[in-house]
């Protein structure tokens, strides 16, 4: 395939002409092979490395400790995930009055207009700090490690009893799908919530949800004390 032009000096007796010699290598098979290799790599590899979300669950003994120094109820937001991509929340603690109030449990949505809006409004102090840090980082005043460390400190500060950021409790139903759980955890990260926790539904929560949605999964035999 490779052509090497070598027809020089063949004229008998005549002047020896020096023809321009061209050396041409045909690259077609090389291209074929490369294309095959590219196809192989495209099918057998993935370009993006999977992302990961780090989660710290409270250990068994820690739960009790946490219950002792409970944050003020007014800052506590409980999100209950339904089974049909729906999410509801209430603020504060469940009391006898809350079972009778039809507007106690409020329906919201995943994403920007729902959970994020609720939490962003409540968490402005921490957000402002993180924002300033981020600007500093982008101007190369602090390193990424420092940024992450200081942002974590700001979040932790906000979550303290003296802080102002909301404490979020996430309660997925047994049949809620994993995507929704991740969506909510994601919002916690976006909104820079310092303290959030995954918990199981209590009977009171189930009762409220059953009243609101009528979903048989929330049916509870144990009626809360109010009823």
């Amino acid at each position: 395939m490779a052509e090497v032009n070598t027809d020089s000096g063949k004229d008998k007796g005549g002047k020896v002409k020096r023809k321009k010699q061209t050396l041409r290598v045909d690259f077609t098979p090389m291209v074929d092979m490369n294309m095959l290799l590219i196809t192989f790599f495209m099918f057998c590899t993935s370009l993006s490395k999977p992302q990961t979300m780090e989660i710290n669950m409270p250990s068994k003994d820690k739960v009790e400790e946490e219950q002792q120094n409970k944050a003020p109820a007014s800052r506590t937001y409980t999100f209950i995930l339904g089974t049909k991509d729906d999410v509801y929340y209430y603020n504060g603690e469940l009391t006898t009055a809350s079972y009778e109030d039809p507007n106690f449990l409020i329906r919201t949505s995943y994403g920007e207009e729902g959970i994020r809006q609720i939490l962003l409004e409540k968490n402005t102090a921490v957000l402002r700090q993180v924002r300033d840090l981020k600007i500093k980082y982008e101007n190369k005043e602090i390193t990424l490690e420092d940024f992450e460390k200081q942002a974590a400190e700001a979040r932790a500060e906000g979550a303290k009893i003296t802080g102002s950021s909301p404490i979020v409790i996430i309660k997925p139903a047994v049949k809620s799908n994993y995507k929704n759980v991740i969506d909510v955890l994601d919002e916690m990260q976006i909104c820079n919530i310092g303290t959030y926790q995954l918990m199981d539904l209590s009977d009171g929560d189930k009762y409220l949800m059953y009243q609101k949605t009528g979903d048989p999964i929330f049916e509870t035999t144990l009626a809360p004390g109010a009823k």
Partner: protein, 212 residues
């Protein structure tokens, strides 16, 4: 009037440039991509804004499919061998060195310990089919082999990180089961594997727009 010369045109196309392009592309793919690990069940992970990448080494991944079946994989063959040996001792199953070696070469595992020896005698294609059809590490209250795996894995390699990879549509009860088991074993720190959500970034909420 000069004679019009008709030049003999050759159809030879210069492939050099084309070759350059393909080699560049090839280099790009080789450097940026990672090989897909073969998994017994297809799992599509939910997306999140988290931009943290999963580390390459010392990962114990727990794969949960929508039916709640559990598969596991570890990245070091030596660890797998030691862990299987110990789990086998717990269940009074003696694995021969050949079986241990064969097991450690599997990309992922997920069978009750009692069924493992028979499984290892199968051919490669049969193995995949069996794993997909009837795989799953038992996690019942009576026979919680998952806990045994985690306990021994932690004993063999204290540095590994647990990464949970579950399908989008997995009901929360299965995830909760795994999380509760991990909590019982005091494994309170773990990673959830997600894929990158396109379009949104955590900065948007801070009022910082990258495009400005």
């Amino acid at each position: 009037m000069p004679k019009v010369k008709v030049k003999r045109k050759s159809t030879f196309i210069d492939m050099t440039a084309m070759c350059d392009v393909t080699v560049l592309l090839l280099t790009f793919f080789m450097l940026t991509s990672t090989f897909i690990k073969k998994e017994p069940v297809q799992v599509s992970t939910p997306s999140s804004v988290s931009e943290r990448k999963i580390p390459d080494v010392n990962i114990l991944s727990v794969l949960i499919d929508p039916d709640g079946r559990i598969f596991m994989s570890m990245d070091r063959q030596e660890d797998i061998r030691n862990v299987l040996k110990k789990v086998g001792e717990d269940y009074k199953v003696d694995f021969t060195p050949e079986e241990l070696k064969k097991f450690s070469l599997l990309p992922s595992f997920g069978l009750p310990v009692s069924a493992t020896q028979k499984f290892l005698t199968l051919q490669q294609e049969q193995m995949d089919a069996v794993l997909t059809a009837e795989g799953g590490i038992p996690r019942d209250s009576t026979d919680n082999q998952f806990k045994h795996w985690i306990t021994h894995a932690r004993a063999v390699n204290p540095d590994f990180r647990i990464a949970i990879k579950a399908d989008k549509s997995t009901p929360y009860e299965h995830i909760r089961g795994v999380m509760n088991d991990l909590r019982d074993l005091r494994e309170n720190k773990y990673n959830l594997i997600t894929s990158l959500k396109a379009g949104t970034s955590a900065d948007a909420a801070l009022g910082l727009d990258k495009s400005h």
